[in-house]
């Protein structure tokens, strides 16, 4: 188990991350969401010792990475903004990674590059943004590290490659030996991929959602009532997601049988259940947070 324990980092007298605390198990795909600049990448850099944390620590199976840095080899992270790979050809990269990640799978690396029509002789810096993101994910998968951090992995990828990567990530966690922590500012990217979502807000970990639990109780409904007055039961128990004419799309975070009965008693003209997306869940939970709604 990886434990980020009360990790804090201040840059230029401004707290970027404060007392971040969560655990992460192999077999989990954890999403990390938050607005741009909220501290997602800083968290990753502090976790991987690129930034020296002001306080707190990261442990893997109770081994403090500061005291026993060799355990850091179980944690993989490529900084998409600042990495050394620019001057190297793709065939050279395993020479570096295999020396750090002792289980690095060179054969699979080559096969995956070929699968995505990437040439071994291509220089990393000459690749498009999307292709670089793809190489980063391939290196992550073939490192065979237990804990893999992917920072905005789908940024710049076309929909086909994105789906391929999502499938590969899901396949990787199937045997419960690897876990992924995936950051994104686009909730749709994490939909159907993450089991759990961490929400960073104002430098802090605002929520740690288990999506299965949330989905078990929440419901998204499209409603039309006879008159224009919004019923009190709706105001008290739901969050308004969208209004289109008289059509209301709302999310009930806690949908109960009693609530269902009350709504049907109002005899709405239209009452239709819609599929609940990750974005709906967050809007429902944080609808007062207008900033969060601007995330997309």
């Amino acid at each position: 188990m990886l434990h980020v324990n009360q990790l804090s980092k201040t840059i230029d007298h401004r707290p970027i991350i404060e007392e971040i605390d969560f655990t992460w198990q192999p077999g989990e795909i954890v999403g990390l969401v938050g607005r741009n600049g909220v501290g997602k990448t800083t968290l990753f850099r502090a976790m991987t010792n690129q930034y020296v944390a002001d306080s707190g620590q990261v442990t893997i199976d109770d081994h403090d990475l500061q005291a026993e840095p060799q355990f850091q080899q179980h944690l993989f992270f490529i900084d998409t903004q600042y990495n050394f790979m620019g001057n190297y050809r793709l065939r050279e990269l395993p020479d570096f990674y295999a020396l750090v990640y002792t289980n690095f799978d060179r054969d699979r690396y080559v096969k995956l590059l070929q699968h995505f029509d990437l040439q071994l002789n291509d220089q990393y810096r000459r690749l498009s943004k999307g292709m670089r993101a793809l190489v980063n994910v391939i290196l992550a998968l073939t490192s065979n590290a237990t804990y893999i951090v992917l920072d905005e992995p789908f940024d710049g990828l076309d929909v086909i490659v994105r789906e391929n990567i999502a499938t590969m990530v899901i396949d990787e966690v199937a045997d419960q030996t690897k876990g992924f922590l995936i950051s994104s500012h686009d909730l749709n990217e994490l939909d159907g991929l993450s089991d759990r979502v961490l929400l960073l807000k104002e430098s802090r970990l605002a929520h740690d959602y288990n999506l299965e639990d949330v989905r078990a109780t929440a419901k998204k409904v499209q409603l039309v009532f006879k008159d224009k007055v919004i019923p009190e039961v709706l105001k008290q128990n739901s969050k308004l997601i969208r209004v289109s004419g008289r059509v209301l799309v709302v999310v009930f975070p806690e949908y109960t049988d009693e609530l269902d009965a009350q709504l049907r008693a109002l005899q709405p003209v239209l009452f239709e259940e819609l599929s609940l997306t990750l974005e709906d869940l967050f809007r429902a939970n944080l609808s007062q947070d207008t900033g969060y709604q601007m995330m997309k």
């Binding site: 800083t42 991987t48 010792n49 930034y51 840095p69 944690l75 050394f84 020396l99 750090v100």
Partner: protein, 307 residues
């Protein structure tokens, strides 16, 4: 673990070492050939003067000028220290190293050790090439009277100075996070050392040349050791969010400012004939150092208005 780290560094630096060796060999060849063209030896001469038998660096004779340890190699070490530390920052290799799971101290000392071994190898190979050129150009009948005292002292002083220069540029590249200002800082400081050497020589005028040379060996080695150990401590605390700032360690700002002002003032005061030069230096370096290290808002605003 360390074996893997050595392999990692070799993977990273080998091309640079080959390139440096190639450049050094070319420069060594040119310098050696330039030296031999000035030789004026006849068949009864010896190649080396009597100085070669004394424990002091050999400076050449009236008939054959050359050094047994080229100053070019001092520059190679200076350049090596600068770029080996600088490029890992500018090319973001530090990110990879810090996340690699190797202890920072192990990374630092392994990299330092490998850098020094590589640079000493470059120095030895270049020197062997130069000695070969000299040997090939020794006229028939001239006695090759090489003696250990001159060779060893030349190498001791040359290598100590090289290590010192390496340590200076290595340390500067560790603490300064902007490439252009780093070049200005280390270039300026290195040039200023000429003044320091003059001052020390002036103060020790009653010492023999050999005594001063051996003192220099000691000072260079002591300075190198201090800078390497201090550098190891700083490297352990290096946090990469400061990349791109003038100082990678903001806490060094005040000490650096004080050292800069005192050093420059002392340099101009001791070398000057009166105190006016020293006073002016103090005022100017105080103001310049403040503006350079703290970059106050009013100065930045003024600069932007006049840009």
């Amino acid at each position: 673990m360390t074996k893997h780290l050595l392999a990692l560094f070799w993977q990273r630096y080998r091309q640079r070492f080959w390139a440096l060796l190639a450049i050094s060999l070319v420069m060594g060849l040119i310098l050696a050939l330039l030296n031999v063209t000035t030789w004026n030896l006849s068949a009864t001469d010896t190649l080396f003067g009597n100085q070669i038998h004394r424990w002091e660096p050999y400076l050449g004779s009236a008939n054959a000028t050359f050094s047994l340890y080229s100053y070019w190699l001092v520059f190679v070490f200076w350049l090596g220290g600068l770029f080996l530390m600088l490029l890992d920052r500018t090319e973001n290799f530090n990110q990879f190293l810090f996340a690699s799971g190797y202890r920072r101290s192990v990374i630092y000392w392994t990299k330092l050790g490998m850098s020094l071994v590589g640079l000493v190898a470059v120095a030895v190979i270049t020197t062997l090439e130069q000695y070969l050129i000299y040997w090939l150009h020794v006229p028939h009948g001239v006695t090759l009277n090489l003696a250990w005292p001159g060779v060893l002292t030349s190498w001791a002083l040359g290598l100590a100075m090289s290590l010192g220069m390496f340590a200076l540029s290595w340390f500067a590249a560790l603490i300064v996070g902007q490439t252009g200002p780093l070049m200005v800082t280390i270039g300026g400081f290195t040039i200023s050392l000429i003044g320091v050497v003059n001052i020390i020589q002036g103060l020790l005028h009653h010492w023999t040349s050999a005594q001063r040379d051996w003192l220099a060996v000691g000072l260079w080695l002591a300075a190198s050791l201090i800078l390497w150990v201090w550098g190891a401590g700083l490297f352990g605390r290096l946090s990469l969010e400061h990349n791109g700032e003038y100082l990678l360690f903001p806490k060094l700002r005040l000490p650096l400012y004080l050292v800069f002002v005192v050093y420059m003032t002392a340099l101009f005061t001791i070398n000057g004939t009166d105190l006016v030069a020293g006073a002016w230096t103090f005022v100017l370096t105080s103001l310049f150092g403040y503006g350079w290290l703290w970059r106050p808002h009013w100065l930045e605003d003024w600069r932007q208005r006049h840009a």
